[in-house]
Amino acid sequence: MADIRPSGYSKHRKKQTYSRRLGTRATPLQTLMSERVGGMGALILVILVLPLLLSNNYQYDVAISMGINAIVVVGLNLLIGYAGQISLGHAGFYALGAYASAILTTRYGLHGALAMPLGAIGVGLMAYVIARPILRLSGHYLAMATLGVGIIINIAISREAWLTGGPDGMYVPAMQVAGVELYGGQIWYWIVAAFLILAVWLALNLIDSPIGRALRGLHGAEVAAETSGVDTTRYKVMVFVISAVMASVAGSLSAHFSEFVTPDKASFFHSILFVTMVVFGGMASTFGAVVGAAALTLLPQLLADFASYEHMILGLIMMVVMIFMPKGLVPSLGALARRRRRQEARS
C-alpha cells in the first residue's frame, strides 16, 4: 500500500485542518488567512471594488461572463480538483440549464425565477441517473464518456429545432421582476455576484466537511479510500450532481443575461474551456477556479486585437502556462511568492 495522503492537498490547508481537528489555537491571523474567511472576504471585496473600474456595459459584460464561468468552474473544480474525476462534458449541463430557462420562459410562459430551479432540478436528476454508470469508468475512459454525453446533448439541442430554435439558437426575453425589466450590466453584475458568492461559499463548506475530506481521499488513492471504508461511488455521484447543478444554474443565468442561447454553449470546446479554467487557475483551489475563469474569460478579449494571430497566441499561452506552472496560476504564483518571502527573510 503506497502513500494514502491525498495529493490535492496543500501543506497550508493540512495545518489548518489539523489545528481545527485538535480544537486548538487557530490564531485570529490564521483564521483571517484561511480560504473560508479571508479568501471569502477578499472575493467580496473584489466584487465590491470592481465596478469602480468598469465604465461601460461591455466591460460589465466581460465581468459578468467571468462570474458566470466562475460558477461553473467552482463546481467543476469540486469534481476534478477534489474528487479527481475528469469531465469533458460539463458544457452540456451548462447548455441544458440555459435551454431549460429559455424554453420554459418563452414556450411555456414560466417566470425566469421559476425556470432556473426547475432546470437545475432536471439537470440534477439527469446527472444522477448517468453518474453511476459513467463514474465507474476511470481516467481517459471517463473523459470519453463525459465528452460523449456533452456531444449528444449538443447534437440533440441543434437538431430539435421545433423546441430549441436549432443551430441558430433562440431568444430569451428579458426577465421581469415586479414589472421591471432586468436589463443592463449593473443589475446583472450584482445578480451574478450574489450567485458566485453563494457558489463559492457552498464549495468551501463542502470541502471543509467530512464529505470534503472523503473526497480528497478519493483523489489521493481511490482504492485505499475504498478499503478504509469510504463509499467512494456515493461521494463521486454526489459531487458530479452538485457540479452539474451549478453548471445548470450558471447556464440559466447566462441565458437570461444574454437573452440569447445557441447550441454552441454545449460544444466540446466549451467543455474543454471549463476544464482549462479549472487547471489554469489551479486544481483543488476554489479561488484558483475563480481566477482561472476570470483569466480565460478576459484573455480572448485582450487577444481580439491581435486579429489573425489571436489563436496562435492563445494556444501558446495555454501551453506555456501549463508547462511552467503545471499546478496552475494560483498555487504556482503562491509558491513563488512564498519562496521570495523566505529569501527576503533570509537576506
Binding site: 473600474l53 459584460d61 440569447f260 511568492a337
Partner: protein, 387 residues
C-alpha cells in the same frame, strides 16, 4: 491566500482599465467608426474571410480618396468564429466601448440574430451579410441585409425545376444554421411552386462522406431532382458522392457555394450542377448593356487584382454592397449620425450592387427581388448563365 488572490484580481482590474484607456484614446480622433464582426475562422470562414478582405480593401480606397463626407473611415473588426455568443459580446464591445457609428457584418444568420436585440436597443444601423430571411422578416427598424434570402434561393431553384418539367424533389441538407434554415424555407415554399418533397436527408457540416444518405435518396421511388442546401466542404462532397453513385437526375446547389472554390473542390463531378447566384460570378459573360455589369466587373477586377485570379466570391460581394450602401446613405444624409443614416438607408432607391438592384422601403430592408438572382450551370469548370 488573501494577498495572492487580490494580486491576481488586481491584474484583471488593470487589464480592464487598459481596455478603457484605449477606448478613450480612440474617441479623441474624428473618424467614422465602422464596426464589424465576421466569421473569419471557424466553419464559416469562407464567408468571413472574403468579407473582411473586401471591407479592408474598400475602406482603404475610400480613405485614399479623401474619406467619406470629409472624415476618414476606421474599421474595427472582431472575429466571431461563427459563434453567436462571441458575436454578442463583440457587438456589445463595438457599441459600448468602440462607440461605432454603424455595424457591417455578421457572416451567418446565427451570429446576426444574436446581435439584433443589442443594435435595436443601442439604435445603431446594422447591415448584415447573412442569408436567413428571419433577419428582415419581420422588419426591424435598425437592421438591413444585403444578400438574397434563402427563401428566394428556394424559389429560384424550384422555378428552374418546374421549367424543366420536373416536380419530385429530394432534399439533402447540412445541419448547420444555413442548411437547416434553407431546408425549412424550401419545405415551406415547395407547395406554392407545385413541388413535392419526396426525400429529406441531412448531414453534419463536418461529415466526410454522404454516400449513405444519397444511396437512400437514389433508392427512393421517383426522385426527379436533388437540392442540396448547405455551404462549405459538405456540398462539394455531396456533389462528388452524387457522381460516384452514377445518379442521373439534375443536382441543384444553393447560393451558399457560389464561388470558384466549389468548382475546384468538386472537380469534374460539378459538371452540370446548377445553382442560383448573383451576376458577380458571370461578370464577363453579362451582356455589355446589362446595368449591373459595370458594378460587378469593377468589384471583381479590384478584388482579384489584390487576392488572385478566380478568388472573387459572392460573399465578399455582400460586404461590398453593405459598405457601398452605407457610403451612399451617409452621403445622402450628409452626416454619420446613426438615426439620419438609418433613414437614408431605408430610403435607398435603385442602388446597383453586386447582388442586384436594391430599393429599400419601410417594410423591406433587403430591397432585392428574384430577378436579381441568376440561374447558373457549371460547364467545363466554369459558370454559364442558364437563362
Amino acid at each position: 491566500m488573501v494577498k495572492r488572490f487580490t494580486r491576481a484580481l488586481m491584474m484583471v482590474g488593470a487589464a480592464c482599465i487598459a481596455l478603457g484607456v484605449t477606448a478613450q484614446a480612440r474617441a479623441q480622433e474624428d473618424p467614422i467608426r465602422i464596426g464589424s464582426f465576421l466569421a473569419v475562422t471557424g466553419p464559416a470562414s469562407f464567408l468571413g474571410d472574403p468579407e473582411l478582405k473586401t471591407l479592408e480593401m474598400y475602406i482603404h480606397r475610400i480613405n485614399g480618396a479623401g474619406g467619406l463626407i470629409g472624415r476618414p473611415l476606421e474599421l474595427i473588426h472582431y472575429d466571431t468564429g461563427a459563434d453567436a455568443n462571441k458575436a454578442r459580446t463583440f457587438a456589445k464591445r463595438l457599441l459600448e466601448e468602440d462607440e461605432v457609428d454603424v455595424i457591417l457584418g455578421g457572416s451567418t444568420t446565427g451570429t446576426t440574430m444574436a446581435v439584433i436585440p443589442l443594435v435595436e436597443r443601442a439604435e445603431v444601423p446594422f447591415v448584415s451579410f447573412a442569408g436567413g430571411v428571419v433577419i428582415i422578416e419581420p422588419v426591424k427598424p435598425w437592421v438591413f441585409k444585403t444578400p438574397h434570402t434563402d427563401r428566394m434561393a428556394c424559389g429560384k431553384i424550384f422555378e428552374d425545376i418546374r421549367s424543366r418539367g420536373l416536380s419530385r424533389v429530394a432534399l439533402i441538407s447540412g445541419t448547420g444554421g444555413f442548411g437547416k434554415s434553407m431546408r425549412e424555407q424550401c419545405t415551406q415554399v415547395a407547395p406554392a411552386h407545385d413541388i413535392e418533397i419526396v426525400a429529406d436527408e441531412t448531414y453534419a457540416p463536418s461529415d466526410t462522406d454522404m454516400v449513405a444518405q444519397l444511396t437512400k435518396i437514389k433508392n427512393t421511388e421517383g426522385v426527379e431532382a436533388v437540392v442540396n442546401p448547405g455551404f462549405g466542404q459538405g456540398p462539394a462532397i455531396v456533389t462528388k458522392n452524387f457522381a460516384q453513385l452514377g445518379f442521373e437526375v439534375p443536382l441543384y446547389q444553393s447560393h451558399g457555394v457560389a464561388s470558384k472554390k466549389f468548382i475546384e473542390l468538386a472537380g469534374d463531378a460539378a459538371e452540370g450542377v446548377r445553382l442560383p447566384a448573383s451576376a458577380l460570378l458571370v461578370a464577363e459573360k453579362l451582356p455589355m448593356d446589362d446595368p449591373q455589369r459595370p458594378v460587378v466587373m469593377g468589384y471583381k477586377t479590384t478584388y482579384e487584382a489584390e487576392h488572385g485570379e478566380g478568388s472573387v466570391s459572392t460573399f465578399g460581394g455582400h460586404a461590398y454592397d453593405g459598405l457601398m450602401m452605407y457610403k451612399q446613405a451617409v452621403e445622402a444624409a450628409g452626416t454619420a449620425d446613426p438615426a439620419a443614416v438609418r433613414d437614408a438607408l431605408e430610403a435607398i432607391q435603385g442602388f446597383m450592387g453586386t447582388a442586384g438592384e436594391v430599393t429599400m422601403s419601410a417594410d423591406d430592408h433587403l430591397g432585392l427581388d428574384l430577378s436579381a438572382f441568376r440561374m447558373l450551370e457549371i460547364r467545363e469548370g466554369d459558370w454559364v448563365l442558364v437563362e
